[in-house]
């Protein structure tokens, strides 16, 4: 149990995907212009993350290891993620059009996010158990959500700031991210795994 909690904290704070492993930056900069889109993305992302981590784990253990197909893990994992996102898209449109209207566009974006693929690959590489994989997936999702919300609240204020013309937009966003990453370095001694 303690181990699971450590894994969760490690994935969300210490090895935060955005600030220490530099993954998922495309979406990170894409959706943080407004708080509303950042929150929508966080919710969708965390849900997809946990489910696809679970699916990948089952397929990896039950099919790929017995058949010696582990060298195909990149192809299969991206297939799982893309297939799941497509399925979720279709089901949501039928079952809950209201929710689809709010979160549908984020679903389509998720396939091109590196984190969603990195988590199954890391789970497979480290040989985590099913529960550990879920905990790692959840931690990564929450960590990404945290990063999006922090960044969105700062960028809303940046709109009002007087920034040199050549630094407007992405360049200043990168520098702000660098400063947040510096703050996240402070978590590095929290737990020694």
């Amino acid at each position: 149990m303690e181990n699971l909690f450590e894994l969760f904290i490690a994935a969300s704070l210490i090895n935060n995907f955005v600030f220490t492993r530099y993954l998922g930056l495309c979406i990170f900069f894409g959706v943080t212009k407004k708080m509303e889109t950042a929150i929508g993305m966080s919710v969708t992302f965390t849900a997809v993350m946990v489910i696809s981590a679970a699916l990948s784990w089952v397929i990896y253990k039950a099919i790929m290891i017995p058949l010696n197909l582990t060298f195909l893990k990149i192809v299969i994992f991206i297939g799982i993620v893309a297939g799941f996102v497509q399925a979720a898209d279709t089901i949501m449109r039928k079952v809950s059009p209201g929710l689809y209207y709010k979160l549908g566009i984020y679903l389509a974006l998720i396939t091109t996010n590196c984190i969603i693929l990195a988590v199954p690959l890391i789970n497979a590489g480290e040989g985590y158990s099913f529960i550990q994989s879920l905990s790692f997936g959840l931690g990564s999702g929450v960590g990404f959500a945290l990063a999006l919300i922090i960044m969105a609240s700062i960028r809303e204020r940046l709109e009002l700031a007087d920034i040199p013309r050549s630094f407007q937009g992405l360049p200043i966003a990168f520098i702000v991210t660098g400063l947040i990453a510096l703050a996240f370095l402070g978590f590095s001694g929290l737990i020694t795994l």
Binding site: C26, I74, T111, P164, G169, A173
Partner: protein, 208 residues
């Protein structure tokens, strides 16, 4: 098409639509693997190879893919070529692969590769697609080498592992923070050059 337009395709990838500095796609590797010139260079080569091969493959099979399933089909083509690169790197560049194996595998999710496949290779013949992939790959390689050059020089005082300056290095430049700073400042610099000398608007990509 003649030789001149092939050259234009390559130049387009390096300058006008440079994947990192201008279009701002695939930003993860720009920060992740640029703590040393060697890593940045090898990552650039890997992307160059994948982008070129994917463009050629998709251009060859473009008439057999039903438009409604094209995105998943492209993903599988990309994933296949990334697997090839991954296995080649694991076999021939062991020490580098240990450090950045995960990022090699994640080339699959790089938006730039899918976007070139969708925007260019699916509509053009094989030879122009090859040159477009080559141009984009070189542009990517160029950006990674520039970023990693500054980070390694300032952070470790060396280039390609060779010590060249004798000062206490700025450790911060090889930490994650330094990567974000370096990319931000270089992007700003590119914008500044664009506004100052070419009369551009300075608005760098939408950020997706």
């Amino acid at each position: 098409m003649n030789n001149k337009s092939y050259w234009a395709l390559i130049k387009n990838g390096i300058f006008a639509e440079n994947p990192i500095f201008r279009v701002a796609l695939s930003l993860c590797p720009a920060v992740a693997v640029t703590s040393g010139v060697k890593n940045g260079f090898l990552m650039g080569i890997a992307v160059l190879f994948v982008q070129t091969m994917v463009n050629v493959t998709i251009s060859v099979i473009r008439n057999f893919i039903h438009p409604r399933v094209r995105i998943p089909s492209y993903m599988f083509v990309i994933a296949t070529w990334v697997t090839v690169t991954d296995l080649l790197m694991a076999a021939f560049a062991r020490d580098v692969y240990k450090q950045m194996g995960l990022y090699i595998q994640l080339i699959v999710a790089f938006a730039i590769i899918l976007s070139r496949a969708e925007l260019f290779a699916s509509k053009n013949r094989v030879v122009p697609s090859f040159f477009d992939g080559l141009g984009m790959g070189i542009g990517f390689l160029f950006a990674l080498v520039v970023i990693s050059f500054f980070r390694e020089l300032l952070g470790k005082g060396s280039i390609w592992g060779l010590h060249i300056v004798e000062f206490k290095p700025l450790l911060i430049m090889i930490l994650p923070t330094g990567g974000f700073f370096a990319v931000g400042i270089l992007m700003g610099l590119f914008n500044w050059i664009d506004i100052k000398f070419f009369g551009g608007t300075g608005a760098s990509g939408g950020g997706h």
